[in-house]
C-alpha cells in the first residue's frame, strides 16, 4: 500500500497544470465555474486548443493520434481539468465512437473518420435511446432495411445530447426483426445532412436545450457506413458503453462542486455569521467530503486495477451509483447554500447572456443545476440498472 503518486505522475500533474494555466481562456473557465453554457463555439474552441496540444484523445492509441495515457494519467488529467474549471470534452466522437472504430471499424473507416473527430470537422452524437427503449435498450425499433448499396432507415431516437450541434450520428438500428432482440441490431454511421432526418429540441426542466429527438424517415445510408458485421451491433454497443463508463464516478466534478459549495457558504451569511460556520450546514458539507474522500480512493483503486490489466466488472457500476449520489448531494447543498436566491430562474446564467445574474456570486445557476443533474442517476444506465448488474453478478443463482 502506498497512497502517494510516483514522481513521474507528479511531474505529469505539474505539466497538465501549467498547460491549463497557460492555455485555458479565463472567460471559458469563468463560464464553467458559474454554470453557464458554452455554446457550440466554446466547445469547438476548447477542442481545438486540446488538439493543438495533442491532448485531445487521452484514451486513443498513439497510432491513431492519441496520447496513449494510462488510466492513472487520464485520471490526473481529468482531475486537473475539473479543478481548473475547464469545459467537459464532448465525449461522443472522442471517447465513445472512436474506440469502437479502432477495434471494429474497417481501415477505410478509421482513416476517414478518426482524423475528422480530432480536427472537429465531425461533431458526433449518439443514437441509442428510443421512446420505447430506455433501460431496455435492446428493445429498440428503429429499423434499417438493405436495398442495394444502401440501408433505408426509419424510426426515432431520443435524448440525443447536443444533437443540435452534430453533423454525424452513430445509431443502433434493427436489421433483423426476426432474430432474438440483441442479435438483430447493427451499428450505423449516419450523416445528419442526409434527407429525411429531423432534429427536434427537447427542453429540460431547467429550461435548457441540451437533448433532442432525432427522427428518421426513409433515410438512405450507404452500406459502407455499417461498422463491423451486420447484426453484431449489440457487441459494439456494449463495448462502447464500457468506455462511456470511464470517469463515471465524476470525482473531479464532485471536488470542484464541493469547493464551490464551500466558497458560497463562506460568503453567504446566516444570522450574521458565514453559513459555513453553521453546524447544520457544516455537517452536510463534512459528510459529503468524507464520502468523497473515500470515493476518490475507491476510484483510484479501480483505476489502478484496470491499469494493471484487470477488467473492471461490477466495480464500474458501483462507481456510477455512489459517484452520482455524491454529485447530486453536492448539488443539493449548493441550492441550500444559496438560500432565497435559489428561487430566481436564471436563464441568462444558464444559457449565457449579458444581464448580470440575480443574487450574490455563485448562486444564479445552482437550483437549475440541481434539477439538471437529476439526469446523472438516469442516463448511462440508470442507477437501478447498475444495481441490477451488481445483484446479478453477486446474487445470481448462488446459494
Amino acid at each position: 500500500m502506498d497512497l502517494s503518486y510516483t514522481a513521474e505522475e507528479q511531474a505529469f500533474r505539474q505539466e497538465v497544470r501549467s498547460f491549463l494555466e497557460e492555455k485555458l481562456p479565463k472567460e471559458m473557465s469563468d463560464a464553467v465555474r458559474e454554470g453557464r453554457g458554452l455554446g457550440k463555439e466554446g466547445h469547438d474552441r476548447w477542442h481545438a486548443i486540446l488538439n493543438e496540444q495533442g491532448w485531445l484523445a487521452p484514451n486513443w492509441p498513439q497510432d491513431f493520434g492519441g496520447c496513449a495515457w494510462n488510466a492513472v494519467q487520464r485520471h490526473i488529467f481529468e482531475e486537473e481539468c475539473c479543478r481548473a474549471h475547464a469545459p467537459r470534452i464532448v465525449p461522443f466522437g472522442l471517447t465513445m465512437l472512436a474506440p469502437v472504430l479502432q477495434k471494429f471499424g474497417s481501415k477505410e473507416q478509421q482513416d476517414y473518420y478518426l482524423p475528422k473527430i480530432l480536427s472537429g470537422e465531425h461533431w458526433w452524437c449518439q443514437g441509442y435511446s428510443e421512446p420505447g427503449a430506455g433501460s431496455d435498450l435492446a428493445s429498440l425499433k428503429t429499423k434499417a432495411v438493405r436495398e442495394g448499396d444502401h440501408y433505408i432507415v426509419n424510426g426515432q431516437k431520443t435524448w440525443t445530447t447536443l444533437g443540435q450541434y452534430a453533423n454525424w450520428i452513430f445509431c443502433l438500428v434493427r436489421t433483423d426483426p426476426d432474430a432474438k432482440q440483441q442479435e438483430g441490431i447493427s451499428f450505423l454511421l449516419i450523416d445528419m445532412d442526409t434527407p429525411g432526418i429531423e432534429v427536434r429540441p427537447i427542453i429540460l426542466l431547467d429550461g435548457t436545450h441540451e437533448v433532442n429527438e432525432v427522427w428518421f424517415t426513409d433515410v438512405k445510408v450507404p452500406v459502407e457506413n455499417l461498422v463491423g458485421e451486420e447484426n453484431k451491433g449489440w457487441t459494439y454497443a456494449k463495448y462502447l458503453l464500457t468506455h462511456e463508463r470511464t470517469n463515471i464516478a465524476g470525482v473531479g466534478f464532485s471536488q470542484a462542486g464541493l469547493d464551490a459549495v464551500k466558497r458560497l457558504a463562506r460568503s453567504q451569511m446566516h444570522k450574521g455569521r458565514p453559513l459555513i460556520e453553521n453546524p447544520y450546514f457544516a455537517a452536510r458539507v463534512a459528510q459529503a467530503e468524507i464520502d468523497l474522500m473515500a470515493m476518490a480512493t475507491t476510484n483510484l483503486r479501480i483505476i489502478s486495477a484496470a491499469a494493471s490489466g484487470q477488467a473492471p466488472g461490477v466495480e464500474s457500476s458501483m462507481l456510477k451509483v455512489k459517484g452520482t449520489e455524491i454529485r447530486q448531494e453536492i448539488n443539493d447543498m449548493a441550492r441550500r447554500a444559496a438560500g432565497v436566491y435559489a428561487m430566481p430562474f436564471a436563464s441568462e446564467a444558464v444559457e449565457g447572456g449579458n444581464e448580470p445574474p440575480i443574487g450574490p456570486e455563485g448562486t444564479a445557476a445552482v437550483a437549475a443545476q440541481y434539477f439538471n443533474n437529476r439526469k446523472l442517476s438516469i442516463f448511462g444506465g440508470s442507477n437501478e440498472i447498475q444495481k441490477n448488474i451488481i445483484a446479478k453478478v453477486k446474487m445470481g443463482g448462488r446459494a
Binding site: 435511446s129 420505447g132 427503449a133 430506455g134 433501460s135 431496455d136 428493445s139 431520443t158 435524448w159 427537447i202 427542453i203 429540460l204 426542466l205 431547467d206 429550461g207 453567504q268 451569511m269 446566516h270 444570522k271 450574521g272 453559513l275 453553521n278 447544520y280 450546514f281 452536510r284 447530486q328 443539493d332 441550492r335 441550500r336 444559496a338 438560500g339 432565497v340 436566491y341 435559489a342 428561487m343 430566481p344 430562474f345 436564471a346 436563464s347 440575480i358 443574487g359 450574490p360 437550483a367 437549475a368 440541481y370 434539477f371 437529476r374 439526469k375 442517476s377 438516469i378 442516463f379 440508470s382 442507477n383 437501478e384 444495481k387
Partner: protein, 377 residues
C-alpha cells in the same frame, strides 16, 4: 379526536379540486408559466369568485374562514394542481398584515383582496438576511409628517403585479431585534421605489426591490411604530402552514403520477411497476406522504394557539416536509426516468414546486435549528 373536515371545508375542497382539475390543466399552466405576467388574471378572478380568497380570512376581516385548517385545505389543493397564482403573497401575507395591523381606511383593501381586485406583495427579506426573519436593515426615518424608507429587499414575490407593497423597515433597535420593525403600505408607483423583476424557477415572478429615499405620508404606516413583529411572525406562520400544505398536495400529485407511470411504462416485456425494487420505492413515498399529512395537521391545528407551540409545530412540519418532499420529488423523477426531466411534463413543474418551496422562510436545516431552539426554550 376528529380528523374529518367540517362540511364547509369539505365543500371548499371539492369545489376547488373540481375547478382546478377542469380549468388548470398542464397546458393552461404551461402557458401561464410562459406568460409575461407569470400568473393568470382570469384564473385569479375565478378563484376569488369561488370564495377561495375569502376562505383565507376570518369573518371579522370580511372572509368566512381564516383558520389553520381553512388554509391547509385550500393550499393542499393549490399544490396538487401546481398553481402558481400568488395567493400566498396577496392574501395570506399582504392581506393578512393589513387585516392584523391596519386602521379602518387601510382595511378597506382587505375587502378588495377578497374580491380579487387587488394584488399585494410583502417586501421583507433582504439580500443578506437569508431566513432570519427579524433581520431588517432597511431604515424608516420620520421627517415632519413624512417617512423616508431606504434599503433593499430581496426576492419579493409578486412585486411587479402588486398594487401595493408592504415594506418592513427598522425605526429603532439592533439589526436583528424583534422590537423596532414597522410596516408601510407603499403603492408600487411611489417615487424612489424601483424593481428588477424576474421569473422564478418554479413559476411566478419576483423582484429585487430598491428603496431609494422613498417618501411616504406617516399615514402609510401599518399599526404602531416599531411594533410590527408579532403580526409579521403571525402571517409568516400562516404562510408556512400554507407552504407545508401546498407541498403535501404537490407530493400527492408527484406520487400518483409516478404510480400511474410505473403501471403503464413497459420495459423488459412487462410494466416496470411489476418490479419489486420499484414497488418498494413507491411504498416508501406513500409512507412519507402520510407522515407529511400529519405534519400539516399538527401545524394547522396549532396555528391559533400558544405561539411557542405554534412555532414548534410549524418548524417540525416544515423540517419533515423539507426532507420528505425532497425524497418524493427526486424519486418521482428517478422512477420516471428521462421523461420527467422534460419541461412540458407535469411532474417537472410539480417537482420544482416541491423543492423550491423549501426556499421560502427556511429550509429543512433552518427549521431543525428553530425546532431545537424552541425545544430548549
Amino acid at each position: 379526536m376528529n380528523f374529518d373536515l367540517t362540511e364547509e371545508r369539505q365543500m371548499l375542497q371539492d369545489s376547488l379540486r373540481r375547478f382546478l382539475s377542469d380549468r388548470y390543466t398542464t397546458s393552461v399552466r404551461n402557458e401561464i408559466l410562459e406568460s409575461e405576467a407569470g400568473y393568470s388574471a382570469d384564473i385569479w378572478g375565478q378563484l376569488a369568485e369561488l370564495g377561495v380568497i375569502g376562505a383565507l380570512f376570518s369573518e371579522e376581516d370580511g372572509g368566512f374562514g381564516g383558520a389553520g385548517f381553512d388554509i391547509s385545505t385550500v393550499f393542499e389543493e393549490l399544490g396538487r394542481a401546481g398553481v402558481v397564482e400568488p395567493l400566498l403573497d396577496t392574501a395570506l401575507l399582504g392581506g393578512g398584515l393589513i387585516a392584523a395591523l391596519g386602521n379602518d381606511d387601510q382595511k378597506a383593501l382587505v375587502e378588495e383582496v377578497i374580491g380579487g381586485a387587488v394584488q399585494l406583495a410583502f417586501a421583507h427579506g433582504e439580500p443578506t438576511s437569508r431566513y432570519e426573519l427579524t433581520r431588517v436593515e432597511t431604515t424608516a426615518t420620520v421627517e415632519g409628517d413624512e417617512i423616508i424608507l431606504t434599503g433593499k429587499k430581496a426576492v419579493v414575490v409578486n412585486a411587479e403585479a402588486a398594487d401595493h407593497l408592504i415594506v418592513s423597515a427598522r425605526e429603532s433597535g439592533d439589526v436583528d431585534a424583534t422590537d423596532g420593525i414597522s410596516l408601510f403600505l407603499v403603492p408600487r408607483d411611489t417615487a424612489g421605489l424601483s424593481l428588477r423583476g424576474y421569473a422564478l424557477l418554479a413559476g411566478g415572478r419576483a423582484a429585487e426591490v430598491d428603496l431609494d429615499a422613498v417618501r411616504l405620508p406617516v399615514s402609510a404606516r401599518l399599526g404602531a411604530a416599531g411594533g410590527a413583529w408579532e403580526a409579521i411572525a403571525g402571517v409568516i406562520a400562516r404562510a408556512e402552514v400554507a407552504l407545508a400544505a401546498e407541498t403535501l398536495g404537490a407530493m400527492e400529485t408527484a406520487t400518483e403520477l409516478t404510480r400511474q407511470y410505473l403501471l403503464t411504462r413497459s420495459q423488459f416485456g412487462r410494466p416496470i411497476g411489476t418490479f419489486q425494487a420499484l414497488q418498494h420505492r413507491v411504498a416508501e413515498l406513500l409512507i412519507e406522504i402520510e407522515q407529511a399529512r400529519s405534519g400539516v395537521i399538527n401545524a394547522a391545528g396549532h396555528l391559533e394557539g400558544d405561539t411557542r407551540m405554534r412555532d414548534l409545530n410549524i418548524a417540525a412540519a416544515r423540517n419533515l416536509i423539507g426532507r420528505a418532499g425532497r425524497l418524493v420529488a427526486e424519486d418521482s423523477i428517478q422512477l420516471h426516468g428521462g421523461i420527467a426531466m422534460t419541461q412540458e411534463y407535469e411532474l417537472a413543474h410539480i417537482a420544482k414546486r416541491i423543492v423550491m418551496a423549501e426556499h421560502r422562510f427556511g429550509d429543512a436545516d433552518t427549521q431543525l435549528e428553530r425546532f431545537l431552539d424552541l425545544s430548549a426554550a
